[in-house]
Every structure is written in structure tokens, then in C-alpha cells.
């Protein structure tokens, strides 16, 4: 009957929340496209739950506007916003069957019994729980409960779906399976999704774009790849994946790039200066562990070269992580693909590290 829901665009303008003197969310602007899968990531206490709560209508903002499909909903109570939401602990109603849980929003909307039956059955099939309508929610596994929660959030064709760490309670393998399912579900229903997680890998797998929050502030917005390859500051660089960070003391232009003097005493070669930087004191250099080549001492290498002693070697699922001590108390992490019968350097061996100048990312400290 009902066609797939059309996504609603979401625009946030100057949205802020303060509790007394504590700033939970600094004035924030954000635009999410129609039908986009958008992830909000950040450590706990970064303001992502406050932002989500304000959009859902649980947290009255101190200022700003929330536009869903062009309408400001700040003054609208949660039950009239027509948003779907999936909670971290599923929040299924324990005194209702699976069928009644999914039918609940339709009953509130006074749908006819025949329509409710048809739509719930179709939704049950869509989330791969056909014939499970009669079960109680506490008879289901974690993954099944999550699918019921998805079905309940989507059954009334809301243009915007909020998901608050929906996979946080599941173990790793099930989580990855459910990620694929959520992604497919999103493609089928077409709604705009705002997905909160503290897991950057999950955000990368699921989302079209993501926003990183820290201390109640939006730090950077973009595609996962953009954020990884061009982090705005040291926080983004170390929150997304691993980063070797150097404190920059001084930068001078050379023929083809920049010569960088670092507090760690390792001179670096870079191609581009940091975007929007004013002086060298607030700049850091970031080198990703997988950009670094590992060779025997004395071998000719790339633009950046440094020698050190292997401190630690960890083999984990296809990659080898080396910690290489290059100076007093300073170590560089290197990640290489693990190959069979490769003659990898062991702990205590001296090695040469090298990487290309354009892999030295100059970024802001804050």
C-alpha cells in the first residue's frame, strides 16, 4: 500500500544546550540531505546524545532551530514530530507481543485493523522475522529485538529515523551482521537516518557522511575518507584510526614543499601546510601507521627517513603492528599487511622507517 518513505532533509541552525554553566552543546549548524545516512560520532560526553535528544524532542534546546523538511520543530512535542527512533536498549514494550510493538504507532494513528495487519506482516517479512509476530519481545535474541525496534521505528513512514547506538549491546560478529542489515534496510525505506555511535568503524561502514563531536562542539563534517585523509585537527586524526602525532616547532618553505622542525627532534618533509593555520605553534604533523615503509637500516627510502629499534610486534587479523622507538621515549607505530613467510624484523632489531612527503599531514593542534 504505502510506498517507501521519502526521506526528510534535516537542518540544524545554531542549536545549543546549556545546563547552568555547563555547555552540553555549543551553537551548532548542520545540514543533512534528504535520504542521507549520516553518522554522529564522538567520545562519551561529546554532546552527540544531547544533539540527538534535542532532535527527538526530549531535550529542550537553549537556543537555535531544528528544521525537519523545512519546518521548525523546536516547539513541537516529541509525539507530534513524526520521527522514528531506535534506542540503544531497544526499548521494546515488554507487555506487548512483537506484532503489537510494531503495530503500536499505527494504532495511535487510528489505522484500520486490516491495514495494520497488512503493514505489520509486510514489515515483519522485511526485517526477516516472518511469523514471529506472536512472540513476546523477551523471547527474542538481541539481534531479533533490534530488528523489531527497526520495524517499529519505520512502520509509520517517518521521513527521519534517529538511531542511538542501536548496536551497542551486541557482540562484535552480530554487530557487523546487523550493520549490513541496517544499511540494506535504509536503502529499502529511503528515510533520512541520523545514527549516533562511538564506534568510528561502524560509522564508516554505514554512513554517507559523518560529523565528529568533541566537548560539545562539532569538529568536522565529511565523508569517512575525507576525515581520515584530511583531518582538521589532532583530535579527529587520533579518533579516526591511529595517528603518529608530532608537535611542530617551525616550518620553512623549500623548493617543492615544507621542511618541518618538530619538538620530538625528527625533521620532517611535507607537501602542504595546514588548512587555516596561523602560526607554527598550534600545528601538528600526523603520519598514518600504514603510510610508513619498513626496511633494513641504510636502505634508501622515501622523502622522510628515520631509524629506530623495534619495541613491540603484534600480529592481528591480517596486519602487523610495530612500535619503533626512535628517540627518548618517543615511538612510532607502523602497520603493515601480514604476509606468509615474510622476514619481518623482530623485537630489538634496528630498522629504517620512511614515508612520502605527502603522507606527512600538517594539521591544527586544536
Amino acid at each position: 500500500m504505502s510506498s517507501a518513505a521519502r526521506g526528510a532533509p534535516l537542518a540544524i541552525e545554531g542549536l545549543a544546550k546549556q545546563y547552568g554553566d555547563v555547555v552540553a552543546l555549543a551553537p551548532t549548524d548542520l545540514t543533512i540531505e534528504r535520504g542521507e545516512f549520516f553518522a554522529l560520532i564522538g567520545p562519551s560526553g561529546s554532546g552527540k546524545s544531547t544533539l540527538l535528544g534535542a532532535i527527538a524532542g526530549f531535550v529542550p534546546p537553549s537556543g537555535g532551530r531544528i528544521l525537519i523538511d523545512g519546518d521548525d520543530v523546536v516547539a513541537v512535542p516529541p509525539y507530534r514530530r513524526n520521527i522514528g527512533m531506535v534506542f540503544q536498549n531497544y526499548a521494546l514494550f515488554p507487555h506487548m507481543s512483537v506484532f503489537e510493538n510494531i503495530a503500536f504507532p499505527l494504532r495511535l494513528r487510528k489505522a484500520s485493523e486490516a491495514e495494520i495487519r497488512a503493514r505489520v506482516e509486510r514489515m515483519l517479512a522485511m526485517v526477516r522475522l516472518p511469523g514471529m509476530g506472536g512472540r513476546r519481545s523477551n523471547q527474542l535474541s538481541g539481534g531479533q529485538q533490534q530488528r523489531v525496534a527497526l520495524a517499529r521505528a519505520a512502520i509509520y513512514d517517518a521521513g527521519l529515523l534517529l538511531m542511538d547506538e542501536p548496536l551497542g549491546a551486541l557482540d562484535k560478529n552480530l554487530r557487523e551482521e546487523m550493520q549490513d542489515e541496517i544499511k540494506q534496510f535504509h536503502r529499502q525505506i529511503g528515510a533520512t537516518v541520523l545514527y549516533v555511535t562511538h564506534d568510528q568503524e561502524e560509522a564508516a561502514r554505514l554512513s554517507d557522511r559523518m560529523a565528529i563531536l568533541n566537548h560539545g562542539r562539532l569538529v568536522q563534517v565529511g565523508r569517512s575518507r575525507d576525515l581520515y585523509e584530511a583531518p582538521r585537527n589532532a583530535f579527529v586524526a587520533s579518533f579516526l584510526g591511529e595517528a603518529n602525532l608530532f608537535a611542530v616547532r617551525h616550518m620553512t618553505s623549500t623548493g617543492g614543499g615544507l621542511a618541518v622542525d618538530t619538538r620530538e627532534g625528527i625533521p620532517l618533509a611535507a607537501l602542504r601546510g595546514p588548512a587555516g593555520a596561523i602560526n607554527g605553534a598550534a600545528v601538528m604533523a600526523c603520519v598514518r601507521p600504514e603510510a610508513i615503509e619498513l626496511a633494513r637500516p641504510g636502505a634508501s627510502g622515501l622523502d622522510n627517513r628515520v631509524e629506530g629499534v623495534v619495541d613491540d610486534v603484534v600480529h592481528a587479523a591480517g596486519t602487523v603492528r610495530y612500535r619503533v622507538r626512535v628517540g627518548d621515549g618517543f615511538a612510532i607505530t607502523v602497520r603493515r599487511p601480514s604476509r606468509l613467510q615474510a622476514e619481518d624484523p623482530g623485537v630489538g632489531e634496528r630498522v629504517a622507517l620512511s614515508w612520502r612527503a605527502d603522507d606527512t599531514l600538517l594539521i591544527l593542534k586544536e
Binding site: 527527538a56 524532542g57 526530549f58 512535542p77 516529541p78 509525539y79 507530534r80 514530530r81 513524526n82 520521527i83 522514528g84 527512533m85 534506542f87 540503544q88 536498549n89 526499548a91 514494550f93 515488554p94 507487555h95 503500536f104 504507532p105 495511535l108 494513528r109 523477551n138 517499529r152 521505528a153 509509520y156
Partner: protein
């Protein structure tokens, strides 16, 4: 294990059950004695009774003041319990779900009547009820009993509300349920067992209450505990033991019902 430790463990296996039985006897003996004394064939309260008879149960039903007092206890207890359930549940909802600034102080005020000596409340209420012209009325006793029974409902319903967190209610709201629909479809089904348990205990509190009844009821509205108290001073016949036995049986039935409801509540909400 050392021989000494072994002996100690063996002694404990004997001593612990003995101690347990002693404590249980200490707790239940007064009630058991009352039952035995009510079956006495003497005209005064004595223990152990030299002979057995059921005559005092007959005396109790022949004297109209006992059935009247029992009826009064229900006329006071049922509305008092109902009032406690309504007000106690609302207070619990406000203090667990609302974000009130003075929640801790409000909570202390609500629970206080349970901890304060009833005689203090009785002395305070006496002139107030006198002024209002409510002294010796059912209304006075109902209002006073609701105050002392309300904390029980408040505590039990609050615990139940805290037990499942507020995300269910938030989820219902997102689904489109306004405050009333959320209460009807989600909150009430989750807490109704606790409300019933609270109501039973509230009734039991009122049924058992003496001090407030002494001050606030009159000859026409006196409750069972008050009549027992008056008869104790005047006659001290085994009729009192017979009445007390019946009160004990009713209290046990109420407690049993509350326990059954509690069990149902726990099983119903198990994950």
C-alpha cells in the same frame, strides 16, 4: 581443613538452624499465643488456657459493637488505600520521571509520615479536624490514614518506575503517544502490579492503625484496633484474643495476596 576448623563447621551446621528457629519463634510467638488464648474456656485472658472452647468467637458475633467496628475499619481503610494509591502513584511519577529541582526534599516530605510517631501527627491533626468540624467522622480517619499509608505506595511504585527506566515512555512518545496515551498504554501496564501491592499494604496499614483512630474517631466511627484497645482497658476477656485472631488472619491474607502479586510482577517483567 584443620580438625579445629572441621569441628567448627560441624557445630555451625547444628547451631545455625537452631538459631534460625529461635529467631522465627521470637517473631511469631506473640501471634501464636493470641490464637491459643482465644480458644480458652476461662472468662479472663490467661496462658496457657486450662481448657479449650470456641465460646468467645460466639460472644464476639453476639455483641454488635465488634461487627460495627470491623465495618468501620473497612469504611475507613478502603477509601484511605484508594486515596494513597492515586496520590502516591502521582507523586512517584513526578519524582522519578520529572526533573524537579527539589526532588530530594519533596521525597523526604512524602516518606516522613511513615517514620514520624503517629502520636505527633494525631496531636497535630486533632485541633485541625476539630476546627473543620470533621472530628469523629470517617473523613477525618480516612484523610489521616491516607497520609501514613501513602509512603508505602510511593516507595513501591517509585522502585517499579526506576526498575524499567524511562526509555519505554520516550519510545512511546516518539511513536506518537501523547502523555495520556503513554500512561495508559505503557506506564500503567508496567506499574499496575506495584500499585495493587501498594494498595494492599496501604489498606493493611489503615486496618492496623490505632493512634490516629484513638484521636480522630468517635463511638460511631471507631475502628477495630480502637475497640480492642477500649475493651482491653475495660474487660480483658478472651473475646479480644478472638478478634485479634481474626485481624491476624485477615492481615495474613492481605500479605499473602501482596506476595503473590509481587511474584507475578517479577515474573511478568523478567527479560
Amino acid at each position: 581443613m584443620t580438625p579445629r576448623g572441621d569441628a567448627l563447621a560441624r557445630a555451625m551446621r547444628v547451631l545455625l538452624p537452631c538459631f534460625t528457629v529461635l529467631v522465627l519463634l521470637y517473631l511469631t510467638l506473640p501471634s501464636i499465643l493470641i490464637v491459643l488464648m482465644s480458644l480458652s474456656d476461662q472468662t479472663y485472658l490467661t496462658f496457657p488456657p486450662p481448657g479449650w472452647s470456641l465460646r468467645w468467637y460466639r460472644t464476639m458475633t453476639e455483641d454488635t459493637s465488634w461487627p460495627q467496628a470491623a465495618l468501620n475499619s473497612f469504611v475507613v481503610g478502603v477509601p484511605a488505600a484508594a486515596l494513597s494509591v492515586v496520590l502516591g502513584t502521582q507523586a512517584a511519577l513526578a519524582l522519578t520521571r520529572g526533573r524537579l529541582r527539589f526532588a530530594a526534599i519533596a521525597s523526604a516530605c512524602i516518606v516522613a509520615p511513615m517514620l514520624l510517631p503517629h502520636v505527633i501527627m494525631a496531636i497535630g491533626l486533632y485541633p485541625v479536624m476539630l476546627d473543620l468540624g470533621l472530628l469523629r467522622s470517617y473523613t477525618a480517619a480516612i484523610l489521616a490514614h491516607a497520609v501514613v499509608a501513602l509512603p508505602l505506595v510511593f516507595i513501591i511504585v517509585s522502585a517499579s518506575l526506576r526498575g524499567y527506566g524511562e526509555s519505554l515512555e520516550l519510545a512511546a512518545m516518539v511513536c506518537g503517544a501523547g502523555p495520556c496515551a503513554t500512561f495508559r498504554h505503557i506506564t500503567f501496564p508496567m506499574i499496575r502490579m506495584s500499585m495493587a501491592v501498594g494498595g494492599l499494604l496501604a489498606f493493611a496499614t489503615s486496618f492496623d492503625e490505632l493512634m490516629l483512630s484513638l484521636f480522630l474517631t468517635g463511638p460511631g466511627t471507631r475502628t477495630l484496633p480502637r475497640l480492642i484497645w477500649e475493651q482491653m482497658n475495660a474487660y480483658l476477656t478472651p473475646t479480644i484474643a478472638a478478634v485479634a485472631t481474626l485481624v491476624l488472619v485477615l492481615s495474613l491474607v492481605l500479605l499473602g495476596a501482596a506476595a503473590l502479586l509481587q511474584r507475578g510482577r517479577i515474573e511478568g517483567s523478567a527479560p
